[in-house]
């Protein structure tokens, strides 16, 4: 693998993601990303999954081989004016529906620009690549 030029980008469907438990999902992401792969998830991680992923990433950081991840996803649009949703949010807290997310190794993937509607990333080849 290491001898091949180029970076692998994998798009993963919602269906596949939904077939994973939270732990399986996080294990899978860490495993792929620490091998140098970039993943695009059709629907992203819940906030709790995001923070669990960050914690596990931290535990896995190893100075010269894995410096962590770059992850960018859209936040949910919550002000859709739906009354029932507003009431439910008041009672139960806001349940964010995770949206599309890109995750990759921090030495390969850099976020260039991000706002509520556009995420622009760059893949660093050459010196950054393993």
């Amino acid at each position: 693998m290491k001898k091949e030029k180029g970076v692998s980008v994998t798009l993963i469907s919602r269906k596949k993601l939904e077939s994973f438990s939270t732990d399986e999902k996080i294990d899978y992401i860490i495993k792929e990303v620490s091998k140098g792969k970039i993943l695009v998830l059709e629907n992203g991680l819940t906030p709790v999954e995001q923070s669990a992923l960050i914690q596990q990433t931290m535990a896995k950081i190893d100075h010269d081989t894995f410096i962590g991840i770059e992850m960018e996803g859209y936040a949910d649009v919550e002000n859709d004016g739906n009354m029932l949703r507003k009431i439910l949010n008041k009672i139960f807290g806001v349940i964010k529906k995770p949206r599309m997310t890109v995750i990759g190794p921090a030495n390969l993937l850099k976020t260039v620009y991000k706002d509520n509607n556009v995420i622009q990333t760059m893949i660093i080849t050459g010196k950054g690549a393993k």
């Binding site: 819940t46 906030p47 709790v48 995001q50 923070s51 960050i54 914690q55 990433t57 931290m58 535990a59 950081i61 100075h63 410096i67 962590g68 991840i69 770059e70 992850m71 960018e72 996803g73 936040a75 919550e78 002000n79 949010n89 008041k90 009672i91 139960f92 807290g93 806001v94 349940i95 964010k96 921090a106 030495n107 976020t111 620009y113 991000k114 706002d115 509520n116």
Partner: protein, 220 residues
């Protein structure tokens, strides 16, 4: 015991404490590295308790263990708020020891040690989220607010219905844009401040007393 179960029991204990008033609301100061969390915590504590809590540095990940001060009384006219303040390590998705060498001139051993401790600090900061009642989320208003770390912290707090105040820090700097933060997060109070000069801290205290002072968790 499952994680969820343990979490529920913790929440229950917190609720009991809150109802019987034995424990103050615990307010966490959160954010990415280097945004000015400790500078703000120090200023708050100087203003209300006459002491500081931690060291400040231009090198990211200066705070690598959470530190707290109990029983801090913040007054605002006739109303006041007694809280425990927790200064947390900056949360990041990556830590590269080479940055400490190349950008800040640390020697390699020191850089590696700092990086290792920084990763542990991030884990600790996230763990603390479970026992916190409200958050001052500090952002650097010279930078893009739409980062994953901000999204993740806010998402976790919103899912649990905890009150958040966004402190748009470093507005003394010319390229700061607190208006960008206000429009990025219309669902939360955004208070532009300079933790360094103390500018508009009064406004932050007023917002804290109002926002965190409610007896029950915010129902927004």
């Amino acid at each position: 015991m499952g994680v969820l179960e343990r979490f529920r029991i913790t929440r229950f204990a917190l609720w009991i404490h809150r109802v019987f008033g034995k424990r103050h609301a615990r307010i966490g100061i959160y954010g990415p590295p280097n945004v000015g969390k400790t500078t703000l915590a120090n200023r708050m504590l100087m203003d209300w308790a006459g002491e500081t809590i931690g060291t400040v540095s231009e090198i990211p990940h200066e705070t690598r263990r959470a530190k707290w001060k109990s029983n801090v009384k913040i007054e605002n006219g006739s109303s006041s708020l007694v809280i425990d303040i927790v200064d947390t390590p900056g949360i990041a998705t990556k830590v590269d020891y080479k940055e400490f060498i190349e950008q800040y001139g640390l020697d390699p051993d020191e850089a590696k040690r700092r990086a290792k401790e920084a990763t542990e600090g991030v884990i600790e900061a996230i763990r603390w989220l479970e026992s916190i009642d409200g958050v001052v989320l500090v952002m650097d208003s010279t930078e893009n607010p739409f980062t994953q770390v901000n999204v993740t912290i806010l998402g976790n707090l919103e899912a649990r219905n905890l009150p958040v105040i966004i402190a748009a820090n470093k507005i003394d700097l010319e390229k700061s844009s607190p208006a960008t933060l206000k429009s990025a997060f219309p669902q939360h109070p955004v208070v532009p401040i300079s933790a360094l000069t103390g500018y508009n801290l009064d406004n932050l205290y007023t917002t804290m007393v109002k926002h965190f002072g409610k007896r029950r968790r915010k129902r927004k």
